[in-house]
Symmetry: C2
Subunit: 466 residues, 2 copies
């Protein structure tokens, strides 16, 4: 049972905690601006967090990251007899466009029907705040934190955490811990908590094709000049076959087949495909590969998607040109045990093989990370499962997630830590979309869960010591 | 021989005429703004022209066009014993973007190395001014115009002349004439004048594909949600086969095969494919259908080109979304005797057949016009050929052009006039591109040619009367 004083503090301090979260949400800390430096808002968010954490009695700093926005570090008093927990979060957010689809401005948090709406309300400022509320409650009402807490809150998660590995390697000793936790995932359903034990990896690239030196008249030159937009469309179209499989040679060579046990468990999950489709405004869900269930396609199969495309004239009316160039952004979601470098090389060769005469194509890699899969039965996992029972009254489902959280792979490789992905979000929180939101019931349940998790971790260690 | 007084006037008044042209070029009369209404600059250009033409002794007006920018009309004194010539031009211009590629601003005309640089310098303000200079010379130095002149200068050519047909039909009686001339085409080579006897038609459409109701997370939903950008790329890619042919069923059914005589004449034209490629910044010219010569592909074969494409995130860095929609603008160039309506219906069916489940596609027609082909041996054609000898010292080649000038088809259908396409532009004038230009030698040679054309037309009529 969670310390009653901690629980009582969380219940009685909701308005004040919410005000703090709103202050952080007002900072438009978008990572991919100013050449990836995050700009002034990211620096402001980092400074805000460092000051806030100092106020909770931690030693905190907004540590400089070469060529990137600062990384917030914070440490509680470290006691040798206590387990050390590393908490990760990110203060950067996705760009908010298309702005016109937001009901209230993305950086003016608004509470409606028990939910807080803002860019970052869930991902990840809101979920991070569940843990920060737990820290506050333990420090102010529980005497002190039951664990040695270390915090790292980065500012480049939404652009693939390009500097996190170097930073974590440089600070490996300071960040060493017994367990790691982060909340950047979600419940399986509104009433079914979930721990995510696997995430897909990510390769993000930009593909540019170029033709004539300048835009040329499509009437005068049409039929002579190879059209870069049409050529790009042909390359993109060739990347999938008619069964929805990615056609890059070798793309599936290293894909770990799904365990039968997992497949059976997933089939039992309460998942209404039609309702899921409707929540996205769709009649049919026909993306991905034929021959796999919807959850298998989202969680355990690799994908390739264009995230954006642009070329030629895109204004009002018509302009009769053959454009000089066209660009597309492509992300591939990888599963265990695909190697991002091999996938990138495969795509590079594919593009070269599919570039017609009269067109030059070039590929720029923006980020890459491996998929992650962790043990479903570690001490930290057991502590997390017990904490969910305390916070939400129900044991969590063990699920995978199709998204990428590069830090999990970096934690594994640099600090030898298997992160517990303790999700508090809900599936319809509009992540990366207009009207992103976070249910307050999830925030407060998450805060109790986070506080309980720390206590369970500490008690396990005490038990081991006896 | 052209009246020596007219010729002398043209030689001695070049600076003043050039200043007038520059005044017109300074007006950014782009048609496709304000919902196709052309906006204030188009109204200003029309008013400028009407005032200028009044100053030349013509009765002129900027006539209102319902839902469009005004159309300039002007009339000389009409004498029953003289042939009536209808001169067409357009004062609207293409949008100037990408602005950063212009060496001098597009609406600040600049003269460098014997050329005038500006948007519209050639197309069509500059070419129109060759005729206006001829009118001025005849009125001020030649006593009066040798023909009954009627002028129509529209403001929507670059968006497919959507209101021209209705306007011309409504004013058919006022615009009746014996011959029509326009200069919106070009020399075959810097030293080889050309009369264009055929133009391709144009179908311009916008294709929109829609998927989820809003942009969604490409990690969480990738593999489930059909991606509108990838779907659009697949539709676009399917529109051509591997031999460069358009795959819309029936697309080539009505295409008139090329006459052997034309094919032989074209093969003899002095055309350096490598130099042409280099002028476009290209190594290879592999656009269009296999099995046809370069000129055949540009002049006598239909094409399909995307002029622009946009969807999803196109800003700096990465954004891991599956976009809600994607759009492309497509133009098809038609040849005799393709029917635009049948082509549009074919494309509509093709898109429906190639739209996968989970995607909604819609097609909006922006404009359409048939291809035009006129007699190569009319009285007006003979007058034009003789005029070129006077203006440029060489008989013109008889060529086709891949571009579309919808007015030629409207003139044929509404006024039963076969237009003489008396081009004064040069092939490297950067039409529709940054740094559009017009050689001053072409302007002055064009002015002499236009003046001589009027005289030859009048003399032919006198001959007939004798």
């Amino acid at each position: 049972m969670l310390d009653p004083k901690v629980k009582a503090y969380l219940e009685s301090h909701q308005p004040a905690i919410l005000e703090q979260l709103k202050s952080l949400l007002r900072i438009p800390s978008i990572a991919n601006v100013e050449g990836g430096m995050g700009g002034e808002p990211c620096r402001r968010a980092a400074a805000w967090l460092a000051e806030y954490l100092e106020g909770l009695g931690l030693r905190a700093e907004a540590a400089a990251v070469p060529d990137g926005p600062p990384c917030v570090l914070a440490f509680s008093d470290q006691r040798p007899d206590r387990p050390t927990l590393l908490l990760y979060g990110h203060y950067d957010v996705q760009p908010p466009d298309p702005l016109e689809l937001w009901q209230t401005p993305p950086f003016e948090p608004d509470i409606r029907e028990g939910r807080i709406y803002a860019r970052g309300a869930n991902d990840d400022k809101g979920q991070l705040f569940a843990h920060l509320a737990a820290v506050e409650a333990w420090q102010r009402a529980g005497g002190r934190l039951p664990v040695n807490l270390k915090l790292i809150v980065e500012g480049e998660e939404e652009v693939g955490s390009p500097h996190l590995e170097a930073f974590m390697t440089a600070h490996a000793a300071r960040l060493s811990a017994d367990a790691a936790v982060l909340s950047d995932s979600e419940f399986f359903a509104p009433d079914l908590p979930a721990i995510t034990y696997a995430l897909r990896g990510l390769v993000a690239v930009e593909l540019t094709v170029e033709g004539p030196a300048a835009d040329v008249h499509s009437g005068v030159h049409g039929g002579a000049v190879r059209n870069p937009i049409n050529a790009l469309a042909a390359i993109v179209a060739a990347l999938h076959d008619e069964r929805g499989r990615v056609t890059i040679p070798g793309f599936y060579d290293e894909v770990a087949p799904l365990e039968d046990a997992e497949r059976r468990q997933w089939a039992k999950l309460p998942f209404d495909e039609r309702q899921y489709a409707r929540s996205l405004g769709l009649e049919e869900l026909s993306g991905g590969e034929q021959g796999y269930s919807l959850l298998e396609r989202r969680w355990a199969r690799p994908t390739l998607d264009c995230n954006g495309i642009v070329g030629g004239y895109t204004g009002e009316g018509a302009k009769t040109i053959i454009a000089a160039r066209a660009d597309t952004k492509i992300t591939m979601r990888l599963v265990p045990h695909q190697d991002p470098q091999r996938i990138i090389e495969g795509l590079r060769r594919f593009v070269a093989d599919h570039t017609p005469p009269g067109i030059r194509a070039s590929l720029t890699v923006q980020s890459s990370s491996r998929a992650v899969i962790v043990s479903r039965d570690s001490a930290a996992m057991r502590a997390a499962a017990a904490a969910y029972e305390e916070g939400f009254g129900r044991r969590p489902a063990m699920i995978r997630c199709g998204a990428s959280v590069p830090v999990t792979e970096v934690l594994q490789r640099c600090l030898h830590l298997e992160a517990v992905l303790m999700g508090f979000g809900l599936p319809d929180d509009n992540l990366h979309s207009p009207n992103e939101r976070f249910a307050l019931s999830q925030l407060w349940g998450g805060a109790v869960t986070a506080a309980s998790f720390m206590q369970h971790l500490a008690e396990q260690r005490q038990g081991e010591k006896v």
